[in-house]
């Protein structure tokens, strides 16, 4: 199984390299290291979000509220910054993480304590959190001129030639990689996705682990909230509207199985990069950006078809039914 997983990511990596090659034939500068760094930086927020969504999907759940959480948390930090420009950025980031965590914990509690399917819970909180953003801001925007220079520039500062935003993404990727492969909670997350019943017998608290994954996806959304607002320098109710599906798309393209238990940090990162490369490449090779949606839709379907071949293992369906009985 491990070799199978590796095989899948290598496939995706090869696909991305072919894609870069194809784009380079029409726009030679695309494969330039400086440009690729730029693409990575543009994709950083999506990667961070996709990793949060990944841990949720691995436990057979889904978090549709991430983009709304991002919007709400982004508004909170933007308004804080506008009202009290003296608050240092690291403190704002901690606040963003905390606000995101609280919103994620609400999802998690409803899933854990009341056993409501996660798709229903997060469908509800998707509209609630975005609505709450409106109530909080009174429908007003926070523009660039109301944000402090630090707030906007923090992520743009280059450190060793790479902007802080990319460093944050790399740090998050490293943390997720360590957590998923080297810690008990990471292994429990996989175990729950593969077989919840067996996980209970193995002493894993399935409900509490689900609570934890929603806390993680919430925190990650909060972090992304600050990064998004300071990158696009506008906070409004419309921020990241509908983005939850892009996040899921990145996960699906990255080979993370919606049925749970299958997927890796590398997959989520590569899936995000794939989408990031497409959105970066279309303008430079003179294809209307209106093509982007259809292309990513096609890529999702193709990815699902390809992934389904690897997933169709014998025995899996029997286990799933036994659990339902």
């Amino acid at each position: 199984m491990k070799s199978l997983l590796k095989y899948r990511e290598i496939w995706l990596l090869a696909g991305i390299l072919v894609l870069i090659g194809l784009i380079s034939t029409r726009f030679p500068g695309f494969a330039d290291p400086a440009n690729l760094r730029q693409v990575f930086n543009d994709t950083a927020i999506l990667m961070i979000l996709a990793l949060g969504q990944m841990v949720v999907i691995l436990t057979r759940s889904i978090d549709l509220s991430m983009a709304s959480n991002l919007c709400f948390t982004g508004m909170v930090v933007a308004m804080l910054n506008a009202a009290h420009p003296a608050i240092p950025i690291p403190v704002l980031i901690v606040i963003a993480l905390a606000v995101g965590l609280v919103l994620g914990a609400i999802n998690g509690l409803l899933v854990w304590r009341l056993n409501i399917p996660s798709i229903v819970v997060t469908l509800g909180t998707l509209t609630i959190y975005r609505g709450a953003t409106f109530v909080l801001s009174g429908g007003a925007w926070v523009n660039a001129d109301r944000m402090s220079a630090d707030f906007i520039n923090f992520q743009r500062v280059a450190f060793l030639g790479i902007p802080v935003l990319s460093w944050i993404a790399l740090l998050v990727i490293a943390l997720f990689f360590l957590a998923m492969t080297r810690t008990a909670i990471g292994r429990s997350i996989y175990a729950i996705g593969v077989n919840p019943t067996a996980s209970v017998y193995a002493g894993i608290d399935v409900g509490r682990t689900k609570f934890v994954v929603f806390c993680i996806s919430g925190m990650v959304s909060g972090l992304a909230g600050y990064l998004w607002i300071s990158r696009y320098v506008i906070a409004s109710v419309e921020v990241a509207n509908g983005y939850e599906l892009n996040i899921i798309a990145a996960c699906v393209i990255g080979g993370i199985s919606i049925a749970g238990g299958i997927g890796s940090v590398g997959g989520a990162v590569l899936g995000s990069l794939f989408l990031g490369i497409i959105s970066n490449a279309l303008p430079v090779i003179n294809i209307s950006p209106f093509w982007q949606m259809a292309i990513s839709g096609g890529a999702i379907i193709l990815a699902v078809v390809l992934n389904a071949r690897g997933e169709r293992r014998q025995g899996r369906i029997i286990l799933r039914k036994a659990e339902a009985a």
């Binding site: 056993n115 509800g124 919606i258 982007q292 839709g297 379907i301 699902v304 078809v305």
Partner: protein
């Protein structure tokens, strides 16, 4: 090795004593609807007017039509997130036909056929290739709306013929709009199909245990395929209505309808895990969502704040019976 279980009598239909009717999901929804109705009529003097109430129905008829088919699909254990994108694509195709000089009957046919085709495409991917519907339809959602964006970009189609406006703006009789009448007729048909035919029983059976159904000779894949086609068809019909009502097509038309239609279905008591639900519940949920949106609208509450109420309503209505049951059993938390 094990005792042979005694042969169990399985009734065709479970007895329904009065108490279970009182504590049923539908009764809860009726209660919620009555409360909202009464609160609304006290809150606004304009509410209790037949024409106001008729206007109210425009809030949910289009999504409600989609929700009817979506209910069957969710009961069978599948889901379709691409419905709003189908509406957009069908509307775009109708817009193209208008530019080519098509008349009203052709437009309606195009809307419905495009919807049906999209639904069949989803159905083929899910049943032929055995893919999970939630991911397939996230993909086709981007694909269908993406095609609409490729065709239209930031433009809009206008110039629909005057006779075409009837579907979204016309009235059949008194305050009964064409949309409302169509919704009620469709609800009756779907109620009959789901609750009174063997096809409907099979839909429930598939949702409860597709493997057992397969072994019992139910053509699981074919029924699922039909359900996807129906959902596409209803999206096509909804597309005709909304295009006719707005009189123009933009690629962003009906954005977010998929989540509202699913909210209706779940609020209507259909289990998101499949196997349970009723059309009556979905119709009630559609009315409740319409009442909430319209009532708050009369009070000048902005749309985005209304969505908080819809979201809260969804979670509270789902959570209430669970909390109540646990309180009664004395094992909460």
């Amino acid at each position: 090795m094990s005792d042979t279980p005694a042969p169990r009598h399985i009734p065709d239909r479970l007895d329904k004593p009065l108490t279970s009717a009182i504590f049923s999901w539908e009764a809860l929804l009726v209660a919620v609807a009555v409360v909202i109705f009464v609160v609304n009529s006290f809150a606004s003097p304009y509410f209790l007017d037949p024409w106001s109430l008729s206007d109210l129905t425009f809030n949910f008829t289009e999504k409600g039509l989609i929700a009817l088919a979506m209910a069957l699909l969710i009961i069978s254990g599948e889901i379709d997130l691409s419905v709003a994108a189908i509406v957009a694509l069908a509307s775009t195709m109708m817009g193209m036909a208008v530019q080519a000089g098509a008349g009203t009957p052709v437009l309606v046919a195009i809307g419905i056929v495009v919807g049906l085709g999209c639904g069949a495409f989803n159905g083929l991917l899910v049943t032929r290739l055995g893919l999970p519907s939630i991911v397939v339809t996230i993909g086709t959602m981007s694909l269908f709306r993406g095609i609409a964006f490729i065709i239209l970009g930031d433009q809009a189609y206008k110039g629909y013929p005057e006779s075409f406006a009837f579907f979204g703006q016309g009235y059949v009789w008194w305050a009964f709009s064409f949309e409302l009448t169509l919704f009620l007729v469709a609800a009756l048909i779907y109620w009959f199909v789901l609750h009174r035919t063997s096809f409907g029983r099979r839909v429930f059976a598939i949702g409860n245990n597709p493997v057992a159904c397969q072994f019992s000779g139910v053509r699981v894949d074919r029924i699922k395929f039909i359900l996807f086609c129906l959902t596409g068809l209803m999206s096509g019909v909804a597309s005709v209505l909304i295009t006719s009502r707005l009189g123009s097509t933009r690629p962003s038309i009906a954005q977010g309808y998929e989540l509202e239609a699913i909210t209706m279905v779940v609020l209507g008591g259909v289990s998101i895990l499949g196997g349970a639900g009723s059309i009556l519940g979905v119709v009630l949920a559609a009315f409740i969502m319409g009442l909430v949106t319209f009532g708050l609208g009369l009070l000048n509450v902005p749309g985005i704040v209304m969505s908080i109420f819809i979201g809260l309503l969804l979670i509270i209505v789902i959570a209430l019976p669970i909390v109540w049951r646990r309180l009664r059993e004395g094992r909460f938390a």
